[in-house]
């Protein structure tokens, strides 16, 4: 057996966390060491994760780098593996973690050691969730990731952090309990929680529906879909910058990833049954939250609402069951991972200087911060889905997919073309353009080197994948084709059985 690269990647951040834990010295030294260790660890993890891409076989639709080991019980094994749909999300995680460490370099000054540990643990959980092929393992990483995130918001957050944390907790608790019940039912019914085997289990359509709704509760909250989205704006507003970055860029994707990895393959019938529900909720999310975003006074809230709208595109794309729709949804997820991360970093940059997120407190930043304005502009345009940025590719493919299924959904979703331009450009105008009249802003400084190092890779990737998204799309082709094929087989199989039964 080859080197277990997935497990190495997953648990490598924990090694760094242990080093930080045993660092000794006075508070100042510990803080400095914690920062350095965290940066080095996450940097090494990122470089190591590139090995995944280099050794990845894009032609293959199945799982690669698979690892299996006996674990809790017969049927609940330690099963890891990735395909073209999960691999890029691991890279997204490993790319953003060092950026998050950099973003927290000066803005976090209390309990730095614990903060960095929380981030490294979070990285482990995120990589794990995208690698797990056993439902229990998935659930552990899925829930395990929440704990450091609760702590990051609850300890290093803003004034109203406890309220935000509990709101976040309550929503996710409801979802996880239902998902846990579903997992237990599956285990007792089929004696396994291995996702690859469950996909072949052929679950009774009636039970599929109940299970689907249970999992839906967990995933819909995570994504979040309207109307279970209200935790997100609060969580973002209260979270420290880096917390928002990981939350928006990676954690929101886990819900959609759950649909892809779990609901769609193992519950094909229920998926079809509930597609209209998903469409409805997604379309409402796009229109409703875009309009709400328009009226926000807090920058982070605005970006949070815009995230919900973008996630609406993801859920539409996934449920079209067309190659363009699903590949588009994956593109939106990745692109949003880069763009929302970048936008929250941009808010963090000015928040560190002015300690306010209120749009009205800013204006005319371009006069003092031309570099910042240029970077922010690229991110805003990507958020608007301008062709030539990564934001366009995914949204357009989702529209293409949706149009093939229902023109009504495509048309309503396409209103985002107008609405996103309205809220994003209005934000940009109020913060960046205009004359610099506010006294407090007169001495504001442009990006420093650390901040350039954070934002420049994101600018480059957003434009690169806008002009040349083929490396990503090529990753998706085989597994998406596989997914659709399996899905159709499963449906036809069941119909076949149904027809036979009816004939008897």
């Amino acid at each position: 057996m080859d080197w277990p690269i997935l497990s190495t990647l997953t648990f490598l951040p924990l090694v760094g966390a242990v080093f930080i834990l045993i660092a000794r010295g006075d508070a100042e030294v510990v803080a400095r060491n914690a920062r350095n260790i965290a940066l080095w660890t996450s940097g090494i993890v990122f470089l190591a994760s590139l090995a995944l891409w280099i050794n990845f076989d894009v032609e293959q639709g199945g799982f690669q780098f698979e690892e299996t080991a006996p674990w809790i019980a017969e049927g609940i094994g330690y099963h890891m593996g990735i395909d073209g749909m999960s691999m890029p999300f691991i890279l997204l995680t490993t790319l953003l973690t060092p950026i998050c460490v950099l973003a927290s370099w000066t803005s976090i000054h209390s309990q730095v050691r614990e903060y960095m540990i929380a981030f490294l643990v979070l990285e482990t959980m995120m990589i794990g969730v995208f690698s797990a092929l056993d439902f229990v393992l998935f659930y552990l990483f899925f829930e395990g990731g929440l704990i450091p995130m609760f702590l990051i918001i609850g300890i290093w957050g803003s004034d109203n952090r406890v309220y935000a944390t509990f709101k976040f907790f309550l929503y996710t608790l409801l979802g996880s309990v239902l998902m846990l019940l579903g997992i237990l039912w599956l285990y007792f019914q089929f004696g396994t929680t291995d996702l690859t085997e469950l996909a072949r289990a052929g679950i009774d359509p009636y039970w599929q529906q109940l299970l689907w709704l249970g999992f839906f509760a967990a995933f819909a909250v995570k994504i979040p879909m309207w109307p279970v989205h209200t935790w997100l704006p609060d969580a973002h507003v209260q979270a420290p910058t880096a917390g928002s970055v990981i939350l928006a860029a990676v954690m929101l994707k886990i819900g959609a990833y759950g649909f892809l990895r779990i609901s769609i393959p193992i519950l094909p019938d229920a998926t079809v049954t509930f597609t209209p529900l998903v469409y409805t909720m997604s379309v409402i999310a796009i229109v409703y939250t875009s309009l709400v975003a328009l009226m926000q006074e807090d920058m982070k809230k605005l970006i949070a609402y815009s995230s919900i709208a973008h996630m609406g595109f993801v859920t539409i794309g996934l449920f079209t069951f067309t190659p363009s729709g699903i590949e588009g949804a994956l593109m939106v997820m990745l692109s949003h991972g880069l763009v929302s991360a970048a936008l929250f970093l941009c808010v963090g940059v000015v928040y560190d200087r002015m300690h306010t997120r209120l749009i009205a407190e800013y204006g005319g930043l371009v006069n003092r911060m031309p570099l910042y304005a240029a970077a922010f502009l690229v991110f805003t345009l990507a958020n608007v889905g301008l062709p030539g940025t990564s934001g366009f590719v995914g949204e357009f493919l989702v529209l293409v997919g949706a149009f093939q299924d229902t023109t009504l959904v495509a048309t309503l979703a396409a209103t985002s073309v107008i609405l996103s331009a309205a809220y994003a450009l209005w934000l940009f105008r109020r913060v960046v353009f205009g004359a610099l009249t506010k006294a407090e802003l007169k001495d504001i400084l442009d990006l420093n080197r650390r901040e350039v190092a954070m934002l420049l890779p994101l600018v480059a990737l957003i434009i690169l994948f806008g002009v040349w998204p083929m490396p990503l799309l090529d990753l998706f082709h085989a597994p998406v084709e596989n997914l659709i094929e399996q899905h159709e087989l499963a449906l036809n199989g069941l119909r076949g059985v149904g027809a036979t039964l009816a004939a008897q």
Binding site: I72, A73, I76, E114, L140, E143, G144, I147, L151, V162, Y163, F166, K167, L170, L184, P227, V228, T230, P233, L291, V292, A293, L294, M295, P323, S324, G325, G328, G364, L381, L386, P387, G388, F392, F396, L397, L399, V400, G401, A402, F403, Q404, T407, L408, A410, T411, V417, I418, L419, A421, A422, L425, W426, R429, F433, G434, A435, V467, M470, L473
Partner: protein, 643 residues
């Protein structure tokens, strides 16, 4: 290679000036961008020679862009006759505008940024016209929209410029909403978005249905209507025209390049490019004709009473675009493109001339504070005359050839919509001549209304500004007479396969055999328009005020631009804000939160408050909780698994 260079040289210029502008300084950025765009313009002439005159159509594949689920789009440079004409228009006007801007913007500290945007715009426009598939066209389409947004808002300290920039982008996006759906529809129907493959398949889809939003529509009509919404936005046709006058907030060279010569004509180009689809959609063609005709007349009536020199020209652009559209609507695409071609020269000339006037008047744009300076800036004055003569369609000038053939084609269409377009077009031609000379008389003649200081400073622009004007003036005079035999002559083979017209659509053919009165009418009404302007603004200058007072209602209706902005403000802007606020407070806060988490959270908070008291400052407790949580989860499984 040649064609690749034409497209990418401006991009290189934009990137260099945009990224290294800080080190290059003003002069360096000007030289790099202007030099590269000028090179592209010269190469375009070569391209015109090879492609348009020798008929060597070329396709250069650059890079695959998107490939997903059967949808393939490549970055391509495709040059056929139609593209070759556009290449010449875009690169030559862009080069001229770059040169002119060196003089016009010499006081501005942001030269590198300005020139980077101009060159980026040129690249996007070239990407649009060289596309061989719908998606690259859309890329160029949105790219020019972006540059337009950036350049309108170039002076970012001006609130009005920022507002105009956003308005331009969002109104364009309304059009793009239709365009994007149209592309989705094209892929849905044809399973490809390559122009060539779609055009070949079109005849098979005549008289088929498509289901759209619950209704059944003729396939090609539905698709072309969606695409045409995009064209209406970009080319500022009635209903989606409101952004164009406001776009004049940008620097004047921008107005000349983007909002007169090139970007706003993209919609006309699109309809001509897609002529193999539009030809089979009679209903859409009728809509195109009517929309064009209504825009031509609406914008002309508004142009009559505006006082800002640039706004008059902006409305005139809007009106001329209407002509181009109704030409396309009656299947005289080549006439529409011909007018696009000549219009680019004389309208850029008028705008840059207006810029020269504004420059002379130290930044004043209101014609009510101008006048009486023709002898002080004779060169600008003469050039403005040439531009106006071409615009009004005086014989021998460029506009004469293109506008006449459009009106004759409208007459020759022998259809209701064609007749309407012909009549409205003739009226608009009279109005065009009137407001053009009103502009000339108010700006240059009579007793000056500028204050003494300003008047004292009135001076001719430097050669770097006037030489480009003269280049355009040459185009405004000769572009019509030289190219008319090629573009709209009896033999349509000049266009090769780039423009497609069905057998039965003979408007252009009939135009050549129009009766004498049809051929004379545009010129006669234009002369009448000029005479009226002379009578009202030179002979009896007190008349306009009296006329305005006597027809107060009509005057205000025109002056306030048919109240489109006010209507849209209520219907869309305020409505969106009100609904957004409603959803936020009533929906999220008072419904979802109140009945959802807050009720529960309130209970939990009581407990939490007690818990935090225990924990504050002792982070190890958190770590402990983390660990405990994990242990708890694991043991739960162990127990539930029955171990």
């Amino acid at each position: 290679m040649l064609y690749g260079l034409i497209v990418f040289l401006p991009l290189v210029g934009a990137a260099v000036a945009g990224i290294f502008g800080h080190w290059l300084g003003n002069r360096g950025s000007q030289m790099v961008t202007t030099g590269l765009v000028t090179a592209a313009a010269l190469l375009s002439l070569a391209a015109f020679w090879f492609v348009a005159l020798q008929g060597q159509v070329a396709v250069v594949e650059v890079l695959p862009w998107i490939s997903s689920g059967g949808l393939e789009a490549n970055w391509t440079v495709r040059v056929d006759q139609l593209t070759a004409v556009m290449l010449v228009v875009v690169t030559s006007v862009s080069a001229v505008v770059h040169w002119y801007s060196i003089g016009y913007m010499h006081n501005d500290p942001h030269n590198p940024r300005f020139f980077a945007y101009l060159s980026l715009f040129t690249f996007a426009m070239l990407a649009l016209v060289t596309a061989d598939n719908f998606l690259q066209m859309f890329f160029g389409w949105e790219g020019v929209g972006l540059c337009s947004y950036l350049l309108i808002g170039f002076w970012y300290e001006k609130p009005s410029a920022n507002a105009a920039a956003i308005k331009a982008f969002i109104v364009n996006r309304v059009g793009d909403f239709g365009f994007a759906l149209g592309i989705c529809g094209v892929f849905f129907v044809f399973q490809t978005i390559s122009f060539e493959e779609v055009f070949q398949a079109v005849p098979r889809f005549v008289d088929t249905d498509i289901e759209f939003l619950g209704g059944h529509f003729d396939t090609l009509t539905a698709l072309t209507m969606l695409l045409f919404v995009g064209a209406m936005g970009k080319s500022a046709q009635i209903g989606l025209h409101t952004w164009l006058p406001d776009a004049m907030e940008g620097p004047t060279p921008v107005s000349a390049l983007i909002h007169a010569a090139t970007m706003v004509t993209a919609g006309v180009f699109m309809v001509a490019r897609l002529s193999p689809m539009f030809e089979y959609a009679e209903f859409t063609l009728m809509v195109v004709t009517i929309v064009g005709a209504l825009t031509a007349i609406m914008a002309a009536t508004i142009g009559l009473v505006q006082n800002d020199i640039k706004r008059v020209i902006a409305y005139s652009t809007c009106s001329q675009l209407g002509y181009m559209f109704f030409a396309c609507g009656v299947s005289a695409y080549s006439a529409g493109i011909f007018h696009l071609f000549t219009h680019a020269f004389f309208k850029a000339l008028l705008f840059l001339g207006a810029g020269s006037v504004i420059h002379a008047f130290s930044g004043e744009q209101d014609m009510r504070r101008m006048g009486g300076v023709w002898s002080m800036i004779p060169l600008t004055y003469a050039l403005m005359w040439i531009g106006s003569l071409a615009l009004a369609g005086m014989p021998l000038f460029a506009g004469f050839y293109s506008k006449d053939v459009i009106l004759e084609a409208a007459w020759g269409a022998h259809s209701g919509a064609g007749q309407l377009a012909f009549v409205l077009g003739i009226v608009a031609a009279a109005l065009t001549a009137f407001y053009s000379w009103r502009l000339l008389f108010l700006t240059f003649h009579g007793k000056s209304r500028a204050d003494h200081d300003v008047l004292h400073h009135v001076h001719e622009s430097p050669p770097v500004m006037t030489v480009p004007l003269m280049v355009l003036a040459v185009g405004a005079v000769f572009a019509g007479m030289i190219f008319a035999p090629y573009f709209v002559g009896e033999d349509p083979s000049f266009w090769g396969e780039s423009i497609f017209v069905l057998e039965g659509h003979t408007a252009l053919e009939n135009a050549h055999h129009a009766p004498l009165w049809v051929k004379l009418a545009p010129t006669v009404v234009a002369v009448l328009g000029i005479a009226t302007a002379w009578w009202m603004y030179v002979k009896r200058p007190e008349i306009p005020a009296r006329l305005a007072a006597a027809n107060g209602l009509l005057y205000r209706f025109f002056l306030n631009k048919w109240y489109f902005d006010e209507l849209y403000d209520i219907l869309f802007v305020r409505a969106a804000k009100a609904i957004g606020t409603f959803f936020w407070h009533r929906g999220d806060e008072r419904t979802i939160d109140r009945f959802g988490p807050n009720g529960v959270a309130a209970r939990v908070m009581d407990i939490a408050r007690r818990a935090t008291r225990l924990q504050t400052g002792y982070v190890y407790h958190y770590a402990f909780v983390m660990l405990a949580g994990l242990v708890l989860f694991v043991s739960w499984y162990l127990v539930s698994a029955g171990l």
